[in-house]
């Protein structure tokens, strides 16, 4: 592999020889696939809503370049820097989320976006990676056994974050944040009784959502019995996979992108299925699985609890989003708007994920004493 010399002890030189290059390649491939798919799917959507054909493509590229830069830059950090970055980021993002509730733009009944210097950003996207790292820190502190109430602090933080998210309202994001936090807590050594209690609490929470929130109830009903209501988007997505077959109809030959309102975001996987076929989709799934499981396997050798929990949390967030998005596209899960990490159109999501995966790359780098020898 071409790169800096082994003896190069500069920042970049050390980075190159310690970073997990396999993950780097997989993430690069996902970003490339994303650029390609946004180019395939978004012109149809843009034309339909009266924008210039390449409106979304251009905007995605505008975000893509800084996103790659941010990911590399963050991955240069040490674990300590990652923790500091996340802590500051967490504080700032909480503040921005409060600001969003006060002065944010309301779109489709939700207040999630904030206009900053000409760009519209969604602060809640950034809370996910920052909170995962901060929560990992809290769990690790508790484990050190020096009396710091890490569990309690992280639970309180979790409560604050979830409250802010529900106020927007953004239930999908709340579920992801809660699931990531729960998984981290689980790995940090959550006692068995707690797991059971939490499990029941989760089920109770879902039941409550089903009973109290009509749109949640309707989505689950439609998932269980498709004929009970409108399942147009998902049905269209399914037919896209069917018509795509093994090798797809060919780039640009797809039809669902002309029908699905969210072809470039939530249903970009269906566009991939129709135009590029099963093989391309399986490659995409394999890339996501590889990134998550490769990261996990690196963490099995990690001796630092914070590093392990933080990296695992970030990877769980990445994996859950990918699974939920693909699951909804394939009608394995009830309809829930969630973007496909690194692939779907969306600036804030892309940037936040770049920060998150940058931190994963930083945490999975080989360090003396980390257990990652080689």
């Amino acid at each position: 592999m071409i790169g800096p010399a082994r003896t190069d002890t500069s920042l970049v030189g050390r980075w190159w020889w310690t970073v997990d290059r396999w993950s780097l390649v997989a993430l690069g491939a996902l970003l490339a696939a994303g650029a390609l798919l946004v180019m395939a799917a978004s012109p149809a959507v843009a034309e339909r809503i009266g924008l210039d054909s390449f409106h979304f493509v251009r905007r995605q590229v505008v975000y893509l370049v800084p996103a790659i830069g941010v990911m590399i830059l963050v991955s240069l950090s040490s674990p300590l820097t990652v923790r500091r970055l996340a802590t500051i980021g967490f504080a700032v993002t909480i503040a921005l989320m409060i600001l969003t509730l006060l002065v944010g733009n309301e779109v489709k009944g939700a207040q999630r976006w904030l206009s900053l210097a000409g760009f519209v950003i969604q602060p809640s996207e950034f809370i996910k990676p920052f909170f995962a790292v901060v929560a990992a820190w809290m769990f690790a502190e508790q484990q050190r056994g020096e009396g710091f109430p890490g569990y309690l602090v992280s639970t309180l933080m979790m409560a604050v974050v979830c409250t802010l998210l529900v106020m927007q309202p953004d239930f999908g994001m709340t579920v992801v944040v809660a699931a990531v936090w729960f998984t981290q807590f689980f790995m940090a050594g959550m006692p068995m009784t707690w797991i059971i209690v939490m499990g029941f609490a989760g089920i109770a929470g879902l039941a409550a959502a089903y009973a109290l929130l009509p749109h949640v109830a309707s989505r689950i009903d439609r998932f269980l019995d498709p004929s009970s209501g409108d399942s147009f988007q998902v049905d269209t997505a399914l037919s896209a996979f069917r018509t795509g077959g093994l090798t797809g109809r060919g780039p640009g030959e797809g039809t669902v992108k002309g029908i699905l309102p969210d072809a470039h975001t939530d249903f970009i996987f269906a566009v991939a299925g129709e135009e590029f076929g099963l093989i391309a989709c399986l490659v995409l799934v394999a890339l996501f699985a590889f990134v998550v499981l490769r990261g996990f396997s690196r963490m099995l050798m990690e001796r630092n609890a914070f590093v392990m929990l933080a990296a695992a949390g970030l990877l769980v967030q990445f994996g859950i989003q990918a699974f939920v998005n693909m699951g909804v596209n394939l009608r394995l899960l009830p309809a829930k708007g969630m973007t496909l990490p690194f692939v779907s159109y969306g600036g804030s999501s892309l940037l936040a994920l770049a920060i998150g995966m940058g931190m994963v790359l930083a945490l999975t780098r080989k360090r003396p004493g980390s257990g990652l020898v080689g």
């Binding site: 149809a44 399914l238 069917r242 099995l300």
Partner: protein, 578 residues
């Protein structure tokens, strides 16, 4: 002691705690790794599930995405075999199109959707579309067979609840040309008329797997589009020139019985059959039955000669009209003298023909015409085949009128087929629209002696040279034939001005291969025809021009009509002893 014992104790807890903490840390880390493996396994399972579901959709359900579990109403048009002419020219084929359907239950806003769809497809009615969309039905077609551009436009609207299915549209590349033979299909590609209806099952068996060896093979007709075109064009010219109501024409292979061309005018475009009038759809060549008039005298003459009731040298007196009961039979071109058999034929004498038939008798006439296939429906492969009308009481009057083609109505295809037997050596062969293999010459049944047929050829040639059919001449081709001018019976009485003018003949007359019929329905006389509208003035020229055009196509070598050998071959004595 207590001091001594206390000291190590004071140190020990620290050391122990440290050791314990380290063990604890190791324990916690180990526990965390185990749980990491659990979470990893869950993810591996989840991604495997996604992969399996992808394979399930794309491969297992992928093949017939368009056709899965559709009921009859929802199924797009089936595959259908092509129809070719005898030389392999495509007469009917299918185009893949897209058809727009809606699932009204999934339409969110019927009014809005209807408004948008009508923007893309302005030919649809907005109210009707809205009504369809708000019907609450599971499935409804909105428009069949969209062009690619229309499909793109509708797709770009992004209206939920509507979609496309691959569909097949029957296309007739030659438009009107072969319309009445081919017929047409309905919106679901089911045969509605003509060959499309007659062979509906065979043509549509393409998708039914357990079908015969002919599955999907194109159907080859006997028709030759080049001949069809010549006939259609010449008949159209005549219809225009003589302001006629319509026309019909047939070109028949006298040896094989194959119909090379069959034209009925006015015609229609089978691609837009629904807009055609019933008059245009009516097949005058096979479904229409008409009193054909004088062309029947060829049958009467052959019958009498074959029966031996009169010799070719014999004749009958045509000095004055024939009165039977309250009828009077006159000649159109009265010679007011005794006429020989050839003269009766070329001057088209009704009196002579009637007398000839009376000598043969009603029973033998009826039996003879039956053997020629003139008393039952033609065995042609079309649903539109007319049933002939013959006298219910076949008395002497009927015998006389039938002798010159009145009181009996047959279809043009029957007439042509019967005439083929007069000139091909005396064998009657069923007409067919299916291409035959070159070696496949049908047996047929003998109806007249070879010698009688030989005389008929000479008489028909003579008629073109010296009789009523002189306008049928085609330079270089030895043609022969008989004119027919029948007054149409309208509401029970014959109309002097409403004529059905025809000419039927064959070529080359020394060894006839092709029989050509031209029928003009109610031609009006013109200045050029000196006001005449009979068969000799209207239909005979069509015959001549058609022969001039198709002779070279069919590979018939031209001859010098005036040469001695030809004259000898066609010689016949016109006047007894003369």
């Amino acid at each position: 002691m207590s001091v001594f014992r206390r000291k190590p104790r004071a140190i020990a807890p620290v050391a122990e705690t440290k050791l314990q903490w380290s063990d604890d840390a190791e324990q916690i880390l180990e526990n965390g790794r185990n749980r990491l493996v659990v979470v990893g396994a869950v993810f591996a399972l989840a991604f495997t599930l996604v992969g399996a579901r992808l394979i399930d959709l794309a491969v297992l359900q992928g093949h017939d995405a368009n056709q899965t579990a559709l009921n009859d109403e929802q199924r797009p048009s089936a595959e259908r075999a092509d129809i070719l002419d005898r030389n392999g020219v495509v007469l009917a084929t299918n185009l893949i199109t897209a058809s727009l359907f809606a699932e009204p239950r999934r339409v969110l806003d019927a009014a809005d959707a209807a408004r948008k769809i009508v923007l893309a497809l302005p030919e649809l009615n907005e109210q009707e579309v809205e009504k369809k969309l708000s019907g609450g039905r599971a499935f409804i077609w909105l428009k069949r067979h969209l062009t690619p551009k229309q499909q793109h436009d509708v797709n770009a609207l992004g209206v939920p609840g509507v979609g496309f299915r691959d569909d097949r549209k029957r296309v007739y590349p030659h438009g009107n040309l072969v319309a009445h033979v081919l017929g047409y299909t309905g919106i679901d590609n089911e045969g509605q008329a003509g060959i499309e209806l007659q062979y509906d099952e065979q043509l549509s068996t393409v998708t039914q797997k357990a079908s015969a060896a002919t599955n999907g093979d194109p159907l080859r007709l006997s028709v030759d589009v080049r001949v069809q075109f010549a006939l259609q064009q010449e008949l159209s010219r005549a219809v225009e020139e003589f302001s006629a109501l319509g026309a019909a024409g047939i070109v028949l292979d006298a040896v094989t019985g194959e119909v090379l061309a069959m034209v009925s005018l006015p015609d229609f475009d089978p691609n837009q059959a629904r807009t055609a009038s019933s008059n245009a759809m009516f097949n005058r060549a096979s479904l229409g039955v008409y009193e054909m008039g004088s062309t029947f005298k060829a049958f009467t003459t052959a019958m009498a000669l074959d029966a031996g009731t009169v010799k070719i040298g014999g004749g009958y007196d045509a000095t004055k009209p024939l009165r039977v009961a309250r009828f009077t039979i006159r000649d159109d071109h009265p010679k007011k003298r005794w006429l020989s058999v050839p003269e009766i034929f070329i001057y088209s004498s009704n009196i002579g023909a009637a007398k000839m038939a009376v000598d043969v008798g009603a029973e033998r006439q009826k039996e003879f015409l039956g053997r020629l296939g003139l008393l039952q429906r033609a065995a042609l492969e079309l649903p539109e085949v007319g049933r002939p009308i013959s006298p219910s009481r076949w008395g002497e009057i009927s015998t006389m009128t039938v002798a010159f083609g009145h009181g009996i109505a047959v279809s043009p295809v029957q007439l042509t087929s019967a005439m083929a037997a007069m000139v091909n050596g005396g064998i009657r062969i069923d007409p067919t629209l299916m291409a035959k293999q070159p070696m496949d010459t049908p047996q047929g049944t003998r109806v007249i002696k070879t010698r009688t047929s030989s005389i008929m050829k000479r008489l028909m040639r003579l008629n073109v040279e010296e009789g009523t059919g002189s306008k049928a001449k085609a330079a270089g081709y030895l043609v022969g034939g008989k004119t027919g001018t029948a007054e149409k019976a309208v509401a029970g009485s014959y109309q002097r001005k409403a004529l059905l003018s025809s000419f039927i003949g064959a070529f080359p007359m020394n060894d006839p291969r092709y029989v050509v019929l031209a029928v003009i329905d109610e031609p009006k006389g013109t200045k050029k025809s000196f006001g005449y509208a009979g068969g000799g003035w209207t239909a005979a020229p069509v015959f001549g021009r058609v022969v001039s055009r198709i002779g070279p196509l069919m590979g018939v070598a031209p001859v010098d009509e005036e040469s001695k050998s030809v004259r000898n071959a066609m010689f016949i004595r016109v006047k007894a002893g003369g």
